[in-house]
């Protein structure tokens, strides 16, 4: 594995081993070629990168801290736990790292209209935010089920001037929002830029979103080295589509001593079938423009998923994760809704940080992992987002009406 040239992936046509690629209807192929071209041009353009860095600093508030969670570390009695504070970004999650980058590309391409899909609403809010800032028309597709459990984010998007389209087809969650956004894009491809919110979709999205999110890992690596003089022993992140996870992992892939763990949503438990853990319990297939692990039935129909967190409630996963799983570089596990809730409370009460329910999955895994490690070892958790959006869900589960 040490011989892998990580920068060589994906290949020119977007493949990570057998995964990724570009599986879309012909109408979109030209737009994807065009996007790939401008993306490859600008990602190597110092002026563009300076503009991006400026926005990340002045508008998003980067770099955000790598925070040593001393109290939690002490309580667990094992590894030192560090939190990469993506929750402190403007709009409250890692999602904005990507929307800032893609919106700049949209501007370069002269597109006047932006569309996005969203599950938890964090990507929708981050998209509506950059659209407001750049004066672009913005339409966000969101499953009906998600508009209910993340109603505050729906209102935030509307305040920001976005039109939120409630998607009532299929399972009425994130995958259906993505279908609807694709249908919009194919209809309005001339003036519309589709900002995909995770490292999924047709090439170049998985690579492009990863590159915009890799700022997380670059900062964390530098910060950890500066704070401790060494590399961390383990990285832990939740995996929905996989953007916060790949953002943290990617700059460390060549560091062989660093173990990486992606945490999927186990829902009611992977054995019940009611979960959103394609890497743990799915198989390869093709959906939403790429080949990757999917949750599907024996006839290749995509099946309904379940997770307490809307942002993880998705039957697929980014193709790079599928490949990293197969080659064994990253280990993928799952935690249940109940475990995630426990992680949510533990972080809130111990460190004074209310995490998103998505993030709480990563925390829950670390509650088990840290005690198995030594106090001279360390773990970085990607604290991908803050939990304000989830207060209703948590309260409801505990029988409290706000």
């Amino acid at each position: 594995m040490s011989k892998i040239d990580w920068a060589a992936f994906p290949d020119a046509r977007g493949h990570f081993g057998p995964y990724g690629g570009r599986f879309v209807s012909e109408t979109l192929m030209g737009a994807l070629d065009e996007l790939q071209q401008v993306y490859e041009q600008y990602i190597n353009d110092p002026d563009f990168m300076a503009e991006l860095d400026h926005d990340l600093k002045q508008f998003v508030g980067r770099p955000n801290p790598l925070y040593h969670a001393e109290r939690l570390s002490r309580e667990l009695g094992g590894a030192q736990i560090y939190l990469k504070r993506e929750d402190l970004n403007h709009t409250g999650a890692h999602k904005v790292n990507n929307t800032i980058g893609q919106a700049l590309l949209a501007k370069k391409l002269g597109k006047t209209r932006i569309i996005a899909e969203t599950g938890a609403g964090q990507h929708g809010v981050a998209t509506a935010t950059v659209a407001a800032r750049l004066g672009l028309e913005c339409v966000v597709y969101m499953g009906e089920e998600d508009t209910r459990r993340q109603s505050q984010n729906v209102y935030r998007m509307r305040l920001l001037g976005a039109e939120v389209v409630v998607v009532k087809s299929g399972t009425r969650t994130l995958k259906d929002a993505l279908n609807e956004a694709m249908r919009d894009w194919v209809t309005n491809v001339d003036d519309t830029f589709y900002i995909i919110g995770t490292v999924a979709g047709p090439h170049p999205y998985p690579a492009m979103v990863r590159d915009f999110q890799a700022v997380i890992g670059r900062e964390a690596r530098e910060q950890h080295l500066e704070m401790t003089g060494k590399l961390p022993d383990a990285l832990v992140a939740c995996v929905g589509g996989g953007s916060n996870a790949i953002g943290l992992f990617h700059p460390f892939l060549g560091d062989e001593s660093v173990e990486m763990i992606g945490v999927e949503a186990g829902g009611d438990g992977v054995e019940t079938g009611r979960h959103s853990a394609p890497l743990c319990a799915g198989q390869p297939g093709v959906l939403h423009g790429n080949r990757t692990y999917l949750m599907e039935d024996e006839n290749g129909q995509i099946i309904g998923t379940h997770s307490v967190s809307a942002g993880l409630d998705y039957p697929g996963v980014g193709p790079e994760h599928a490949w990293l799983k197969d080659i064994g570089r990253v280990n993928y596990v799952s935690v249940t809704d109940d475990q995630a809730l426990a992680g949510f409370h533990r972080m809130t009460r111990t460190e004074g940080i209310i995490p998103a329910l998505e993030t709480s999955h990563a925390i829950a895994h670390v509650l088990d992992l840290a005690p198995q490690m030594r106090p001279d070892q360390s773990i970085i958790i990607n604290l991908s987002g803050r939990g304000d959006k989830d207060l209703n869900t948590v309260a409801e589960r505990e029988g409290i009406t706000l």
Partner: protein, 277 residues
């Protein structure tokens, strides 16, 4: 000569355009599909496009999305659809049948198993909307070995360079998507169509079919003047919804629409018909 080639050769001789109705297999229920296919042929269909229901029909508008949902209520699978083709073939050995759908059910079945079963069933072509030629090499080789034509789409956004690429991979006919949008959209621009098809003919000698946005006999007739085949989907599938589970009523209504289109198309192609495009 494949059944598809044979059919287009006959039609060319008669100076007629092919009429290709699309129906979603298993809609409104699995038992309805084979009788419906025969009824469409009796009403003047030259080739049948049979939709394979999929849980996430990204390229389809609401009409075909709902058809997929109805068919999936009965669990209509790709294997079931191939069994329907086999059943149809028992009494109709000349009308070509093309499956239209998405890649994942084919992936799940396995390319080899699909090609073998499809060949036995008497399938003639496969069109997977989310499979561009770039990703299709393996499946195309297997299909060709089984005598099944891989059908590819060309869109208004397809560049000349890509058209060559698509034309090289395509067999049977080339399906020109007449508009930017999903199936069932309402804005087919027939005036731009003639020019676009003329351009396409410089890249391929295959027959050119046109689909998406053909909603009535008049549009079908206009398209028939410039295209080799007219594909009609939502305008027929819509009738299944209107007949709400009444399979016979749906089949009769579908046959009526097909017959109207057939007649209008033949009139439009008859000597002396005024060009309206």
């Amino acid at each position: 000569m494949s059944r598809i080639e044979q059919r287009f050769a006959e039609l060319r001789e008669q100076n007629r355009a092919a009429l290709i109705p699309y129906v979603t297999a298993g809609d409104p229920e699995p038992g309805a599909t084979v009788p419906l296919m025969h009824a469409l042929v009796a009403a003047g269909a030259d080739l049948i496009e049979l939709g394979v229901p999929f849980s996430d029909p990204m390229a389809d508008g609401p009409v075909i999305q709902k058809a997929c949902e109805r068919a999936l209520r009965f669990g209509t699978s790709l294997r079931d659809v191939l069994a329907m083709v086999a059943e149809f073939r028992k009494t109709d050995t000349t009308t070509p049948v093309v499956l239209m759908g998405y890649l994942n059910p084919v992936e799940r079945m396995g390319y080899e198993a699909f090609a073998a079963t499809a060949k036995t069933a008497g399938l003639d072509g496969l069109l997977t909307v989310d499979l561009p030629p770039e990703e299709s090499e393996e499946v195309v080789d297997l299909l060709e070995a089984s005598g099944i034509d891989p059908i590819f789409l060309v869109a208004p956004t397809t560049s000349d360079a890509r058209i060559d690429h698509v034309a090289r991979a395509a067999r049977g006919f080339v399906y020109y998507v007449s508009l930017k949008g999903v199936t069932g959209s309402q804005t087919l621009d027939t005036s731009a169509l003639a020019e676009r098809l003329e351009g396409l003919r410089r890249h391929t000698g295959l027959p050119l079919g046109v689909g998406f946005g053909i909603r009535d006999a008049q549009t079908a007739a206009q398209v028939a003047q410039v295209a080799d085949a007219v594909v009609v989907g939502s305008a027929i599938v819509r009738l299944a919804e209107e007949h709400d589970g009444d399979a016979d009523g749906f089949a009769r209504a579908a046959a009526t629409v097909v017959r109207e289109m057939r007649d209008a198309m033949d009139v439009a192609r008859s000597p002396g018909a005024a060009a309206t495009v």
